[in-house]
Amino acid sequence: MAATSRKLEITVISAENLQLDRKPIKKNASATVRAENEGQFRTTDMDTEGGAYPKWNEKLVLDLPMQARSLTVEVQCKTSYGVRTIGTAKIPVSDFVGGFVPEGYLHFLSYRLRNHRGERNGIVNISVRMKVPELKACATTSSLSSMGFPMGDSSFGCGGVATGIPVWCGPYPKSY
């Protein structure tokens, strides 16, 4: 039953303040998303007009291997001299997996891009959602059922309460 990879939906929304050689770029930026250092990657279309503030709003679907610890987002620009990398950001998988929010939660994340010299070069905005795998072994009851431990209703004390991460079974409730 253990899958070797999960489907990841990444929408590359936009980027800000992209520069090449200390000058804002004019156009033709695109973004590539890659799982850790794996071969598999997806690229958005070029934004031919957005200049240094491109907007893609493009959804890319990637298979994220179970053991992957991070994703890499790279923003490039097609110039008359060829494709040049503007900057890269490394996104730890822990930023959208684990924690208390449920699995199918739509995360809106933003990251600082750094160029090959390690200098800051803009920000990239994305949204990420893990596709919940269909576990056929569980019986599906109502769409709002959850297996897991109640968090102790609203009584949340602070100072190290140990809680389990709920395992969701069946179709994920859409509205929350």
């Binding site: 800000e16 200049g51 503030y53 809106f108 933003s110 968090m151 009584s155 602070c158 929350y176």
Partner: protein, 582 residues
């Protein structure tokens, strides 16, 4: 942000129909009112509410017939003074009237608007007099009811039923007997006439050559046709250079901008000229409903060009056609829609107990509890915020924490429950917060340093657990502090993580410290927050304000903090496509 930095020069960019306007969280129904209120410092959410009234079981004061009731609406100021806002009409001969006259009032999220309604029985001799001219002391007083506007609007049915009381009842010695004066039913309707936005993609074919050596550079202007025949431009597309088959970017029109779906719209296609004198290539007159039909049948419609031949005008039908490639309608829910549709705001508070506040037993301490009852800065800030937010929190149970103090014989705690419990952190209502605060002052020793990280992380935990439980809650954390934060990077890290959750943070600085460094946390005044791992805050969730005890005006400085909350809330809900359950 892309709109501000486009490469289009010389006025060739799209105006008025761009997606930026589509995402306007204020949904201001009237630009003039918008501007008026903003110039007077009202930057918060305000919307027009229409109140309508009905009553049941009114007292019968007339001898031979039933009462002829009318409602007078007042607003009650902070000093208790009443000022009249308006009156309904008189309904003749009814003890269960439904008044037709509606009263329009502007709803401000960040202010508590207290309304008083008085019902009068209008004497027969005045029945032909205009209600505005009636002298109330000459009428029979039937009863009055009081409520806050924010009590009505978040309810799902937007209805509030209030018992009418008679002033003399409270003065009467026999007030044990409950005198039934009847009930007043107040209904509030948001009068934003249309929240529907239409997204259209337009295209033309076979446009004529207007330029000498190249193809035309076409763009469209969409105008609405007024009753008097004048046209008022509503939006224009971007200019596409050198193209006779242009396909423009989608435009967004709010139906209210154009009047209605059947209002006639003129679409003119011009050829762009650098000298500003653009040539008309052709035009067409269609309503939004017509455009929707064009889209449905997938055909185009010919443009025409008004030409004069001698003294005659006639419209030359052109070969060029307009096509509607995309036509979708979407409804933009407002803040009040969400509140009525099952969403709520949850309030949490964290109080700074660091030693810099001063010994609480001495009068110059920021934590000094004045025996005369005058609230100190901490108490005032809490009251100002909770006073507004309590109407939106259904169970009125507020998590309350303190930080930077040593509970009896313990190490310094940077997030302890204000109520002293080790199991749960909530208190009940404003009273609960005040009691927990004063008792905590006696049970802890002030220490330090000022750390926000643990409190913010705790609040974020509450928010993410609520999301996990399927709740539709939005959390508001109020941090009141007297000093500059010591763990700036940890605070930024916690804030960046929290920016993805349904949480907003209000920080109030009390006392005389220099809060310049704290302003970094508020993205309005600086850059987006960046964590130590390179992650950037995806939303601006922090508002910071230094607390100055300003007495002038109805809105305190702290309440001005609340003004941004509805738009932060809406940004969160809309980006995740959460819709109110209506």
């Amino acid at each position: 942000m892309g709109n501000c930095f486009s490469n289009d020069s010389g006025g060739m960019s799209a105006v008025g129909g761009a997606a930026g306007a589509h995402g306007n969280p204020y949904d201001g129904p009237n630009d003039a009112v918008d501007l008026f209120l903003r110039n007077r410092g009202y930057n918060g959410l305000f919307s027009q509410i229409e109140l309508s009234f009905a009553a049941i079981d009114l007292r019968d004061r007339d001898v031979l017939s039933k009462s002829d009731p009318m409602v007078v609406i007042y607003t009650k100021g902070r000093d208790g003074g009443l000022s009249e806002l308006g009156r309904t009409e008189v309904v003749l001969n009814s003890l269960n009237p439904k008044w037709i006259t509606k009263h329009n009032i502007t709803y401000h999220f960040e202010v508590v608007q207290t309304l008083v309604f008085r019902v009068y029985d209008v004497d027969t001799q005045f029945h032909n007099v205009d209600v505005k001219m009636l002298r109330l002391e000459e009428q029979q007083f039937l009863g009055e009811a009081t409520c806050a506007l924010s009590q009505i609007v978040p309810k799902s049915d937007r209805l509030l039923t209030l018992d009418l009381v008679y002033r003399e009842d409270s003065e009467s010695r026999r007030s044990n007997r409950h005198r039934d004066r009847g009930k007043l039913i107040v209904h509030a309707e948001e009068s934003i006439s249309s929240k529907t936005t239409v997204e259209m993609s337009l295209r033309c074919s076979d446009l004529e050559y207007k330029d000498l050596f190249s193809k035309s550079d076409p763009f469209l202007i969409i105008s609405k046709l007024t009753e008097s025949g004048t046209t008022i431009p509503v939006c224009k597309t971007e200019v596409i250079k050198n193209e006779l088959k242009p396909s423009w970017k989608p435009i967004y029109l709010n139906i209210q901008q154009v009047g209605s779906k059947d209002s006639p719209l003129i679409m003119e296609c011009f050829n762009f000229n650098n000298n500003g004198k653009h040539d008309l290539i052709g035009k067409i007159q269609k309503s939004l409903a017509d455009l929707e039909k064009l889209h449905a049948i997938g055909q185009g419609e010919n443009l025409f060009l008004p030409t004069t031949v001698g003294h005659d005008y006639h419209n030359k039908i052109l070969k060029s056609q307009l096509f509607v490639d995309k036509f979708t309608e979407s409804v933009q829910h407002t803040f009040l829609d969400y509140l009525a549709g099952g969403c709520e705001l949850n309030f949490m508070v964290a109080v700074d107990f660091t030693a810099s506040n001063g010994n609480p037993r001495l009068p110059d301490s920021l934590h000094y509890i004045d025996p005369s009852g005058r609230p100190n800065a901490y108490q005032k800030a809490i009251i100002d915020v909770v006073e507004v937010l309590q109407f939106y929190d259904s169970d009125k149970r507020f998590p309350a924490w303190g930080f930077g103090a040593r509970p009896i014989d313990g190490p310094v705690n940077h997030c302890f429950n204000l109520n002293g419990s080790s199991h749960y952190c909530e208190v009940e209502g404003i009273q609960g917060i005040m009691m927990a605060y004063t008792s905590a002052l006696q049970n802890v020793s002030l220490a330090g340093p000022t750390l926000f990280g643990p409190v913010i992380t705790n609040a974020a935990l509450n928010a993410s657990q609520s999301v996990a439980n399927g709740g539709r809650k939005y959390f508001v954390l109020l941090i009141i502090t007297d000093g500059v934060v010591t763990d700036l990077q940890e605070t930024k890290d916690a804030l960046v993580k929290a920016s993805d959750l349904p949480l907003s943070i209000l920080i109030v600085g009390v006392g005389g410290a220099d809060f310049k460094e704290m302003e970094i946390l508020d993205a309005d005044k600086g850059e987006r927050l960046e964590s130590s791992t390179g992650r950037v805050a995806s939303r601006d969730i922090v508002q910071f304000v230094p607390f100055r005890d300003v007495q002038s005006g109805e809105i305190s400085v702290v309440q001005a903090l609340l003004a941004e909350l509805p738009s932060q809330f809406l940004t969160y809900m809309r980006s995740r496509d959460v819709k109110p359950i209506l």
